[in-house]
Symmetry: C4
Amino acid sequence: MNIRKRLFIVIFGTNTPAGKAFDVALLFAIIISIIAVMLESVSSLESRFGSVFRIVEWILTVAFTLEYLTRIYVTDRKTKYIFSFYGLIDLLSVLPTYLSLVFTGTQYLLVIRALRLLRVFRILKLGRFVGEGEQLSEALKASRHKIVVFLGSVLTLVIIMGTVMYLIEGGENGFTSIPRSVYWAIVTLTTVGYGDIAPQTILGQTIASFVMIMGYAIIAVPTGIVTVEMQKVKSAIAASQNNCPHCGSVGHDEDANYCKFCGEPLED
Amino acid sequence: MNIRKRLFIVIFGTNTPAGKAFDVALLFAIIISIIAVMLESVSSLESRFGSVFRIVEWILTVAFTLEYLTRIYVTDRKTKYIFSFYGLIDLLSVLPTYLSLVFTGTQYLLVIRALRLLRVFRILKLGRFVGEGEQLSEALKASRHKIVVFLGSVLTLVIIMGTVMYLIEGGENGFTSIPRSVYWAIVTLTTVGYGDIAPQTILGQTIASFVMIMGYAIIAVPTGIVTVEMQKVKSAIAASQNNCPHCGSVGHDEDANYCKFCGEPLED
Amino acid sequence: MNIRKRLFIVIFGTNTPAGKAFDVALLFAIIISIIAVMLESVSSLESRFGSVFRIVEWILTVAFTLEYLTRIYVTDRKTKYIFSFYGLIDLLSVLPTYLSLVFTGTQYLLVIRALRLLRVFRILKLGRFVGEGEQLSEALKASRHKIVVFLGSVLTLVIIMGTVMYLIEGGENGFTSIPRSVYWAIVTLTTVGYGDIAPQTILGQTIASFVMIMGYAIIAVPTGIVTVEMQKVKSAIAASQNNCPHCGSVGHDEDANYCKFCGEPLED
Amino acid sequence: MNIRKRLFIVIFGTNTPAGKAFDVALLFAIIISIIAVMLESVSSLESRFGSVFRIVEWILTVAFTLEYLTRIYVTDRKTKYIFSFYGLIDLLSVLPTYLSLVFTGTQYLLVIRALRLLRVFRILKLGRFVGEGEQLSEALKASRHKIVVFLGSVLTLVIIMGTVMYLIEGGENGFTSIPRSVYWAIVTLTTVGYGDIAPQTILGQTIASFVMIMGYAIIAVPTGIVTVEMQKVKSAIAASQNNCPHCGSVGHDEDANYCKFCGEPLED
């Protein structure tokens, strides 16, 4: 086995001790890099430790760049990796620092920096969490049509409610425009309730109460959707694990030796 | 097939490519019209682009009017359509603009405009989302009695809690009347929590804590109701796929071996 | 059938047309009475319509008193009714108005008035909602031990978190005492979030973030408890409806004629 | 039976009347002690009843110390008890008062005092609630991997959203640094919504609306996870009640006719 193949197993694999160690080290490097970006934005820390943050950033950027190039080198399907989700994230997570040399506009630099935070998704590649994550996303994918219908209804509701409140409360009570009133309706329906805009008239408060109770009841809908889909994914996994060669029944437990319906032995 | 029948399929149908294209175009027209109404309410935009908004509004109103008249022309059951839910919404969504010519009172005009936003419901007619929407509304319909009992209990609770808080906190702490205190109780129980009215006395804060924890626990009730009903709707759909080869009846459980109506064995 | 028995059926029964009409009339009287009490607390309405509210209150109090006395007269088990939950509520809902004649202290009078609002529970006696309400309360009763454990854990958590925040933030940031900090912890954990007390230090905001995410995840627990219990109540009702005389299996659908497991006819 | 064994049954057991009485007494002592600590932090009460609180604290500390020493004396596995969870809590719940004699720094003293509140966990040892608590914690333990994936996703989301809002809103609107913006994102996503930091720009409010609706939908995920796991724990308990008369194995499904381990028919 040549070096290229060994590196592939270490960098892309997660089963060998070396592969695991690499992933954990990468995880820590990403977290340190994110913390450095976050702390750099605190002006009091920036003025005192600014140079430290920049050194950490450059060291990690160079390390991530080397890692990115190694990934391209060791993989056989280079084009597929480069244009895969993680390939693009890997590239985007090192570009901003290099771009900061060319473009001196701090504002723009910071916008691109935010994308580096997406690197944290690589954490999810670690070991046993992937299976659980897939179960979750499968359940969410199965309920996506219902969720679109749900979000569409919620959106219609907040637009109508926002417009009604704009007409009732008016600009003097903070409802200065329909978009701002719709923003208030979302803040209220989702039970966030900042309190920066709040109804002052009795009619407005009555309608707001109605929106709140509705929001309180509506939350049952996405919960119900996701719970039912998760139950189904769980059942499907359980059912697919074992079927009786005699009567064809499925859904036997993993530890079953005999069919629970006809009593014949199970094969696996 | 004459033109009238063809138009009917395009306008009312959703299965042909032309019908689909028509629905998508209608959807975009509605969204543009809603955005125009919303942006018109922002005073800074109104002063600069006011005439653009009015032109967009008039063009779309004329288009929707033509669409409405065509719908009446092509359908065979004209009276049924006109007085159906969507028929009335179609009419109400064009009326306000025409009324704005006669009545110059801006306030009244805007009130009627809000109804145009209901047009967005037509989105739900698009393709595959209808089935999902029907599943959702069936589950909600099945749980409506439980939801009425639940809402009744919540209403009783907020009236009692609001009155108690009115007596404890009094007008000097913002609880100026029982209706206002009930409004506070709803804001708190639904976990919205604006903070415009908040208890100041120790006894008031203790009772408020009680209301909050109760609100936090009570939300489990509608969630449980809807989840159980959705599970049932899902099972009913699954059951309707298992049918008896002897008597043709449907609705057998997935694990049934014999038809529950005629006693003959099920095939699958 | 004498008058006493007929009155009993009208007042206590809900199946005859007269009984139904009586209940609906009672319902409206209670709602009017509650609205009168609520509006009386609004000072601007009190000064203008105060005498109207007092007349409505006296008329309804006399009517409810007559109703209460009739209930005692027509029922055979008088003592049982008087000391039953609804019997006590019926009495307590008329007493405050009479007591207001003797005790002139407005404060005390108002405290007792609040109890009249409990009358609204009588609404729940109306027809078909009782069954649904019983299903709900059965599910809640079955999960009461789990809910006590849950509430105990939440209480422990908010006490510890409140104390920690009191030590970190201190009086100058609004956390003036442990009880007040515990109040803050409840406001935060239940996701109410008034904003009257909010952490100012970085450490305080970090711990607050932890409390919020925990509160967000913890809400899953009562929801899970209640959903599972409701599912169980539903299944128990379904299962108890039908059992096979041949193989003893239960859980057959209401419309089943033959056992779905052994194919033998069901008896009922 | 000697005194040591009898004391063991009273102190560690919960089945005898004496054991029950001891636990209830202990529970009250813990609650009184916690209330004393909490009230001592209220400055107005401290100045008036400060000495009372200190006397209560010393009496209860001595009582808890005696209880702790007796527990060590009566148990056979002394080392195991001392280093068990409850053993450590028992020790930590008396230490702070003694330490307050040596170290005069009031601040530090109070920090350690907070740990005494953990004593309340001993309440959970009382009788029948343990089983329910174990069911809850078993369900939570089974869903821990999914919850880690969920919390990781939420954390990634709030970091990205916080950074985006920091760039859009900037310091002048309260988003002074990325950590503070992340704090805002957590406050918003969890629907707490203090309102101490709230977006002011239109783009900021639009993104905030997106975060709110997402937070509103995301809460369905932990709820779904916990509900499904609870259902499973419940089913497992039900299954453990069905056991094979031939091989004695348990865990058969309720609808099983034959033992899944040995193939012999099940009796029930």
